[in-house]
């Protein structure tokens, strides 16, 4: 298997982008990534997108996007793993390049979510839950994550304020990200007093509905070395794991086993321990998710995610910064694009291009992208050479 490097990144602004369609968004991000990489041709395209059919009435987007990018007849495919579709797109592209099937591959993610009503968006997102056991009975993701939050608070004494602090911290970061959807400061009080969505989660505990796209260009490391254009970022770990997609079928509702399994595999591939990771972009679709992810990644012990957040471990100036981009909460969550946008942020940080939100001295970053309530997880580890 060949080593793989990231040589180009691009993303659109995240937000309610009324003037851009799904294909517009993807092409904008993809062209930026190709410009950044200095390539005018790609050998293959993998697009992560959760539900173009329900959000935009459009399937068959692998070909559509390759065509609108001016790259047909290259092979183009869409991959789907709910909100982890972006991470899956990168992992699929890595398989192409590492195996020698293709050399230069564009791995992108896109979701156009605001052309449907809030109720339709909720329905589309809920298709990532177990239809028979969850969605059919009315469960939605805010409700499922609220159950996780309640269980975590009950079992480990996690406080309501700890959940809120995740959102406060991520908004503090997102304020400095020009691509972020919600670039405003919020306080713990505002989170706790915002509109109730599913107890104990309020609106400011939830990531928003977002339009956006992101793309990266990957190629064999040896090919990348010849370009020597920008600091080289190598993918040292790429792992994917699955779990029950129904929350109640797990032995422990607070334990994200798919994330733990994927992380263990990624650490092994990279030959590192959690303590050797400098920072992470994680899937904070709801505030409780970030707390549970910290534990599943082995950054803190089980049950300690809330306390660690409260004590500032994950702040931008903490020992283990999490979501310097603003995370899904502040930056926005166009579901299929999220996994690639995480990679965009890690590469930006590793290159030292993150401006005011630049983390000091970071060499190795981890991205954790998750589908549904944890039925799938993709973990990548990137290192700057």
């Amino acid at each position: 298997m060949r080593d793989v490097a990231i040589i180009g990144i691009g993303m659109t602004d995240f937000g309610e982008l009324w003037n851009d369609s799904l294909r517009d968004l993807f092409v904008k991000a993809a062209l930026e990534a190709m410009d950044d990489a200095g390539v005018d041709h790609i050998d293959g395209l993998v697009a992560g997108c959760m539900s173009p059919g329900l959000f935009a009435g459009q399937e068959h987007i692998g070909s559509l996007l390759a065509d609108y990018l001016g790259q047909a007849p290259i092979p183009g495919v869409r991959v789907e793993s709910a909100c982890a579709s972006g991470g899956m797109a990168l992992r699929t592209g890595i398989a192409y390049v590492a195996s020698g099937m293709h050399d230069v591959v564009l791995c992108g993610g896109v979701e156009k979510m605001t052309d449907v009503s809030g109720a339709q968006a909720t329905y589309a997102l809920a298709t990532a839950a177990d239809q028979d056991a969850e969605a059919f009975h009315g469960a939605t993701f805010p409700g499922l994550y609220a159950l996780m939050a309640t269980a975590h608070m009950h079992t480990y004494g996690t406080k309501r304020e700890d959940l809120a602090q995740v959102a406060v911290k991520n908004h503090d970061n997102g304020m400095l990200n020009p691509h972020a959807q919600y670039r405003m400061k919020i306080t713990v009080d505002q989170v706790i007093n915002s509109v109730k969505v599913a107890d104990p989660l309020n609106i400011l505990d939830c990531s928003p509905i977002t339009d956006g796209a992101a793309a990266v260009i990957i190629c064999p490391l040896e090919m990348a070395k010849k370009l020597k254009k920008k600091p080289l970022v190598k993918i040292t770990g790429s792992a994917h794991a699955t779990d029950t997609i129904a929350l109640h079928q797990r032995a422990d509702m607070t334990w994200l086993k798919s994330t733990a399994d994927a992380a263990a595999s990624a650490y092994k591939q990279a030959g590192v321990k959690p303590s050797q990771i400098d920072f992470a972009e994680v899937h904070d679709c709801f505030t409780i998710a970030e707390i549970c992810v910290l534990e599943a990644l082995g950054v803190v012990k089980k049950g300690q995610g809330g306390k660690a957040t409260r004590e500032g471990l994950t702040a931008r100036d903490g020992k283990f910064p999490v979501n310097p981009s603003g995370g899904l909460k502040s930056k926005g969550h166009p579901v299929g694009a999220t996994g690639i946008a995480q990679i965009h942020e890690i590469v930006t940080q590793l290159r030292g291009d993150a401006g005011k939100r630049q983390l000091k001295g970071v060499k190795r970053g981890l991205a954790q992208n998750m589908g549904g309530s944890g039925g799938s997880a993709v973990v990548h580890i990137l290192e700057v050479l």
């Binding site: 309610e16 605001t114 009503s117 809030g118 915002s194 509109v195 109730k196």
Partner: protein, 350 residues
Amino acid sequence: MVGIVGYGAYIPRYRIKVEEIAKVWGADAPSYKKGLMLREKSVPGPDQDVITIAVEAARNAMKRAGISGEKVGAIYVGSESHPYAVKPSGTAVAEVIGAVNDCHCADLSFACKAGSEGMFLAYGLVKSGEVEYAFGIGADTSQGAPGDALEYSAAAGGAAFLMGTKNVVATLDCQYSYMSDTPDFWRREYMHYPRHAGRFTGDMAYFKHVRGGVEGLLKKAGAKPKDFKYIVFHQPNGKFPVRMAKDLGFSDDQVKTGLLVPTLGNTYSGASPLGLSAILDEAKPGDAILMCSFGSGAGSDGFIFTATKALPKVQGRAKKTRDYLDTNPFYLDYGTYVKFRRKIRKNVED
């Protein structure tokens, strides 16, 4: 000089508070009040509709103008809630005020700017010399689907403006309209309630078109925001017009007199016309007034008026807008509200 020779408002006395609606739907009243910058809204009584509201407003305008109905050569009633799909509201209004038979009459629709369209047409006809006096009336008993955000704001009321050339109380100095095909809010045939595209109705519809209307109007007139004593925009909620005014460089002082929505709600076609009538109740000779309506679909009509020396003489001849709004309210519970709004299904013979 062409302008307004008489103006009049009408607002039903019935009100319902945001809390009363939120209670029924299990919604968070404080967040609606904060988000919409609106506390309560007017509700039409069981015997009130667009025709009765338009008649009351037109009568008040005629009291101020001091003219009789037969002199009115045109009547345009703009609304989203004409009582009939086929048969005009304006003919009934013309009959009541004695404007028949020598009169041109039409009902207008363009979502919430149907009222200002009538004002524009009336102004044009008088300016051309085709008629001596013409009415532009905006009135609505607005629809909002139960449980929808619109239910908290959709209100009832209207205002009438009689255009003419003699004894003008406010000259109409400049007019500009701005439009595009933007599907932000609509109601098709047989639909009880309008649908809307959420926040798309903000940036891409309201803000784009009010900005376009105001900037075009200022450019056409060679005017600047500071030239005006009063401004009034369409007011679907409290937040939109206040933010728009700030973005365009107007001050809160210029906005406050015409901002009725916090206790009135959104009277759709009546909204910016009622704001203008509230301003005319207060304005002094020489005061410049800028009005810009907005209608979904989407477009805006902008007007610049200047109050004349004749205005103070007519202000007290009819009930003022704020008097309708601020005095003698009758608060409804939700059950009575839905009865008044005919939302309860009864047997056909009832």
